[in-house]
Symmetry: C2
Subunit: 124 residues, 2 copies
DNA sequence: TAAATTGTATATATCTTATATACACATTAT
DNA sequence: ATAATGTGTATATAAGATATATACAATTTA
């Protein structure tokens, strides 16, 4: 499992893990029923504590992405992608609203924002 | 001084204060040389500790927005608005990049993002 | 059924946020 | 001049979030 964590980013490690796994589930790299690495093996691989991987998995379980069974392991659940899309849209709207606030504050026009958006969306 | 703080937002109080004062400086409500409310009076008004207002003012001082003098008070400095604009542009680009990552993850097209951007920029 | 592997729970350490209190400097009223 | 008040500053402390070590419980496997 390719997970990369940064200690300097300021984002909690358990969040980095759960969001990367979320991404893998949503883009199809992980499918319904697939087994996740055990909390211990992932912790060992990332050189962090089991408690931290557990917290990441708890977050994924709370959000309906996986299920864990004592003694067996953790597995990807069936996804409601449409519901997730709606949730993401709400988040994106909020983020764009923050961008607009920042922009207006120093006189950045809508056109300029549109340009930046197109550039960062297009490339990568 | 009209400053509104929220205890439930999750954003640190000192950040809420400093960012609102930054806004006032940048949109012209506060001008070079203007005196800020004393740390004590602002703390009293917001029913928070002096240490918290001090931390907000320290942040503003570190970012070059104000200067504080023991016994006298805190005052707005001359602004380099062009430099600030450049910094904000970098931040905005980063935020838009995050938006695009989120969008691609659940199949949201550039057109849809553009629409949302226009809506949240236009109204308010 | 014993050993190994899995998830879980408890107690602890460190950092960030927010605070109370006491201190140092400048202005103002006497 | 100087005492009183108002200003910013420094130290010690409390509460919450993040990450950990260690021991416990359930399942699988040899």
């Amino acid at each position: 499992m390719d997970i990369i964590i940064s200690n300097s980013s300021g984002e909690p490690i358990y969040n980095q893990i759960s969001s990367q796994i979320k991404t893998m589930i949503l883009d199809g790299r992980l499918k319904e029923g697939d087994a996740l690495p055990s909390m211990r093996s992932l912790a060992q691989q990332l050189r962090i504590s089991v408690i931290t991987t557990k917290r990441a998995y708890e977050e994924l379980e709370r959000d309906g992405f996986i299920e864990s069974y004592t003694g067996k392991g953790s597995f990807v659940k069936a996804q409601n992608t449409e519901l997730f899309r709606e949730e993401q849209l709400r988040l994106i709207e909020e983020m764009l609203s923050n961008v607009c606030d920042k922009a207006k504050l120093c006189g950045i026009e809508l056109d300029e924002l549109r340009e930046i958006l197109e550039i960062v969306y297009g490339g990568q």
